[in-house]
Structures are given as structure tokens and as C-alpha cells.
Symmetry: C3
Subunit: 252 residues, 3 copies
Amino acid sequence: MITLASDFGDHYPAAMRGVVHRADTDTDVVDVTHTLPRGDVRAGAFWLAFLLPEFPPAVHCCVVDPGVGTDRAALVVRAGEHALVGPDNGLLLPPARALADEGEVEVFRWRYDDPASATFHGRDVFAPAAVAVDEAGVDGVDGLERAVPAADHDPLTLPAPEIGDGGAAGEVLVVDGFGNCITNVPGTALPAVDTVAVNGQQVPVGRSFAAVEPGERLVTVGSHGNLECDVNDGRGEEAFALAPGDAVRFEW
Amino acid sequence: MITLASDFGDHYPAAMRGVVHRADTDTDVVDVTHTLPRGDVRAGAFWLAFLLPEFPPAVHCCVVDPGVGTDRAALVVRAGEHALVGPDNGLLLPPARALADEGEVEVFRWRYDDPASATFHGRDVFAPAAVAVDEAGVDGVDGLERAVPAADHDPLTLPAPEIGDGGAAGEVLVVDGFGNCITNVPGTALPAVDTVAVNGQQVPVGRSFAAVEPGERLVTVGSHGNLECDVNDGRGEEAFALAPGDAVRFEW
Amino acid sequence: MITLASDFGDHYPAAMRGVVHRADTDTDVVDVTHTLPRGDVRAGAFWLAFLLPEFPPAVHCCVVDPGVGTDRAALVVRAGEHALVGPDNGLLLPPARALADEGEVEVFRWRYDDPASATFHGRDVFAPAAVAVDEAGVDGVDGLERAVPAADHDPLTLPAPEIGDGGAAGEVLVVDGFGNCITNVPGTALPAVDTVAVNGQQVPVGRSFAAVEPGERLVTVGSHGNLECDVNDGRGEEAFALAPGDAVRFEW
């Protein structure tokens, strides 16, 4: 299986689909998402770390690539039975670590010469690389060159929160399509409390949106395991006045 | 075949795709749509009743679920050779009745314990249920419990129009992406007339958009069989000042 | 393989997917894109000419059809090993010529009677036609009638630029989702220069977006081979004040 993910939005993903279907292979081709926040490597890393572990072993072709056409490298990352292909900008390692233990994550450099374009490596570099890795396996691909091991090679991309006895200081990673503000604070840090202060304002803690009336705010542990600032049947990012990158202090 | 439909918009549908592909099965997995109007069970029921009959026999995993995480039940509905899986909130019965005669519609309760999340049953309850039904068939799944038969179990979700000799009183079910205002009045009610009054204003009746000049209003029978208030190459909801739920009186 | 492309946006593409999956065939079904600019035949022709050559031989079902329900014909176009199915409005020939040499492009008229709707020929005419062509091949389909050969049959849809020694006069074909203004001027016309005047304003020429600072304008040769007016990490259509159809004069 080859999966495709990008921030390309309309039209361009079809070129990647065409490239992988054009290869003489029977592999399944499945779209993950092509509306990753545009040019936002960290948001892309979050969503991929959340979504890819749902898939069976596959080659995941992942492209959020504001440095396309520069000398940034292309990577192939082995993550247990999975592999990831994409730009060397921090996008791939959070999902790799979500897919496999640290000891099973290995990073390789994918060499490429003269792609047909300097602006669409999703089509010209990464999709062909994904086909090659799918066909031969990471070990069978010629010319892969071991790169600095994952742990040192790249920042984690996703910032770590500060967690103390009385609360946690984190930040908003992404706002999802429902307006939920997903933070980097793990739900496991939250004790059994009925309310929590979010940047100084007391808000109920609920298991599900319906724990509060429509239009009311709540904090919940989302399906990714992190704390979210939400509104039942409304827009969390408006009610909490939060945006990606904003600091969030939880006190409990 | 398993089909997937939801109001999840970006990203989250990939988790459902992953779950069904992760199952050890060769079944085809096909997206219906993931941009059903958010939280609008009635609009979801309309679109699914319109779209699912185009598909071959399949297990349709359908999620518009504002009550996720509450005690609302999960259902499996047999509809002839098709099956539907989703929340017990009225979403499933209109498409079930569009897929099969009333006598072939049977409703079952799907029992689930402790899903991994209280906010993403698409991933944690309904997609696994769809896999189970696809693999074993409705009759082969353990633990399905006959629920109140379809006709009594649930309101129709979709409101019935009042149809008389001189016209019909209905409402707008949905506004589609083109701006067409799709009503609940069946086209079969419309006699052979050249114009019809829509909330008091005379409008031409046309077989296709091009029956009127660009920018002009018309009433047509849409591909779903219901009366629509449209503009050729324009936005019907603006020209008619109509929104989902608004009353529409047709006089002919 | 059957591919599907349209300007239908939400929901309606599922009906086409259902129709082709309902056919008793094992063929792969792949979406190209369903967000082609609405009713814009020329933009549709551009995107399809760009995207379809990435695919293996297939039957491409392409629908941008503002004249649906009128007497415009339905076409089947052979383009080498590929075939295209869609309305006779200029949409199909630019991609056909991108898929095959002129001598391998043949145009046929697809006869259809009484489709179930006058407003959704994607479902009722073109998807069934694509299934028939996929199953029997262009030569095996009954009732295809040779139409006027491609070269005379239809305008090119895509306007030709005027190219001279000192520059080129063209126009914006489409603005992509990144805000890049894609013109009809081929990149091969551009000599090796560092800057070019765009409607009188000097702008750097770069191989990739990162050739200029974020927020800065540049002209580049896009992955489709044409000149684009772009902004690195920004919106070209705003910075250049350009929209589809606008004239662009490049001077070098």
C-alpha cells in the first residue's frame, strides 16, 4: 500500500495519484489527506502522527514542502514495517515515532537528479521514490544512504509541554475543521477534575462535546490523546480566542 | 465493498480509511463524501438517500453524529442487500428506505464497550462495526440485537410536504454547492406548466439550467427527483433568499 | 482504469463513483479532481491537460458542463491508448492532445436517449459511457459515430500566446490553490534572464519559490511548463492583481 498526504489542496494531488498508478504495480493507493495546513510543517507532522498509525504497513508519501527546489534533502524513513518518504524538514519524524519504537526508526537520504520541475517534487521526486520503496522495500532500494540517526537528525518538530503538579504550559498545535483547538498537552497529565482553568478562565472538563450545552466551552481529551479547547456545536478557536502556535496554560 | 460518508471534512476521514484498510480483508473501500453539512442529521439523511442507491450492495458507514459520546445507540440497518452502520439519530433510515422496500429494512443495535475515545466513534465504533458487518454479513455478526422495527423506531427525519391541487407547501432540505435550493417537494407533483409561483413570485419551469438565460431564476426537477429553486450559472439561494429549513410554497 | 474529474465539488461525485462501481467490472476507479473551476471549460481543459498525462492508459470521464440538458453532444475521444468521455464543449481536446499525437486523436459522438435527469449527465450519461468504453474499448462500443476530426471540430479552448524576441503577450489561464497565476506562455520561450517585466513591473525569475524571500514576487516555470506569477509563501494573484482571463505581458 502507498498512502498519499500533502498540503496541495485542489488538483495537484491527482498528479501524484497518476504517478503511483502508472507504475506497474498492484499496490493499493489510498489518500490520507491533501488539505494539511499549507506550508505548516509542524501541523503536518501532528496530523500525520495522528492518522498514519491507523493504517496497515505502507509506504507513506508525505509532502508539506515549503523548501521545494532548494538543497533540502529527500528522505526515506523506515518505521518498523512502515516507511515514509518526504522532504527533510521535520515532517516525517513525529509520524515515524508514532508508527514504531525509536529503535525501529532509521533515516536514509534519497538521492535524486534533475527532477522535471523545481516546484513539484511531490510528483517528480517523492511519488517515484514511494513507488521504488513500495516495490523493493527499504533494503532493496539502490542508492539509499544512511543519514544521521533519527534522534539526532532532526528536531522533534512538535514542541514538548511543561507539565507540573498544578497544571501544564503548552501551545495550540492545530485548529481542526470543527474549530477544536488541539494542544500539545497529553490527556494523561490531567487529573480527575470537573473544571480546569484555561489561560485563567474556568472551563468544565467533559468526556464528550455533549457534556455541556450547545454553545458552551469545554476541555476534553481528543481522539489523538491530547487536551483540546472546544465548544459543543460551536467554534472553540473563537470562544477561546486561540490560534495555532498560541500559548495555553492549563491549571487544575 | 465498504463506503464511508461523514461530516468530518479534513483529515479525520483518513482515520476511518485506515481502520477499514487495516482489517485483513480485500473489500473495496470507497468514499462517498466527507463534507456532509456539519452536525445536520437531516441534510445528511437527504444526501445519503440520494447517493447510496447508486452504489452496488455494500456496507455504508455513515457518520453525522452530534451526540457522539452520549448514550445514543449505534445501529446496523439491513436494507435489502445493503447494510448501513451509524449513530441512532435518524441519519440511517431515509437512505435505508431509498435502498430497499420497507419490508427489507431491519434495524439492529450494535453493542460497543469502551471505545478508545468519546469523541471519534467514526474511528472507534462505526468503522470497526462496518468491517465486522462486511466480513460476516448482518446475520453473521455476534451480538446484534433486533431493535424496534424501522417504521416505528425513528422519525422519518425528512419532513413530508403538503401537496394540493393548486400547489405544494414544503421546505428547503439543503443548498448544494452550486447554490441550488433542493426542496422536499417531489417533481411528480408538478403538473405540465411553464411557470410556477415560488413564495408568491412567478418563475419559469425548465428541464435544464439552460432553459433560461444566465443569471435568471428557474424551478427544475433535480436529479434526485425533487423540485429545486435554481439560477442558471448563478446562486439560487441568493436569488430566492432561501436557506435550509426555510418554508417554500409552490403554486401552479 | 476509469478516472473521474468534474467541477461538482461536494457530494455529486459520489453518484458517479457509485455508477462505475455498480458496473460488473474489476476496473480501478480513481478520482482526478472534482473541484475544477465551476463552469469554466477552459480552466478545466488546462487542468486536465496537465494532470491526465500522469495516468496510465485509462478512460477519463470529464465533466465541466454548463450546457447540461441542452442539445450539446456527448463525445468519446480516443487519444492513443487513452479515451476521454464528456460534453462537446471544448473540454476534452486539450487533454486529448496532451495524451497523444494529433494523428492518434479521434472524435466520436456518443448517442444517448432519455437520461434519467436533464441536469446530471455526469451520473446519467457520461459515467455509463465511461463504463461502456472501459469494457469494450472505443472500437467495441456500439453506436459510436465518427464526428468531425479533432483539429476542425473544436476550438483549441486554450488561447495561444504571442511570442516575440523581446517578450510575450499571454493571459492567465488559472489561479491555483496557492495563489500562483498560471499563464499560457510556455517556459521554453523565456531566455536565461534574471528578471522579467510583468505588465511593466520588474520581477525576479527563479527556479523555485525559495529563490526569493517569503512574501516576495517571482516568475517561475511551473511544473506544467508554463510561466507563473507567484509569491514565495504568499498569494501571487493578490500581489500581481491578476485573475483568470487577465492579459499578461512579459518583457525580457
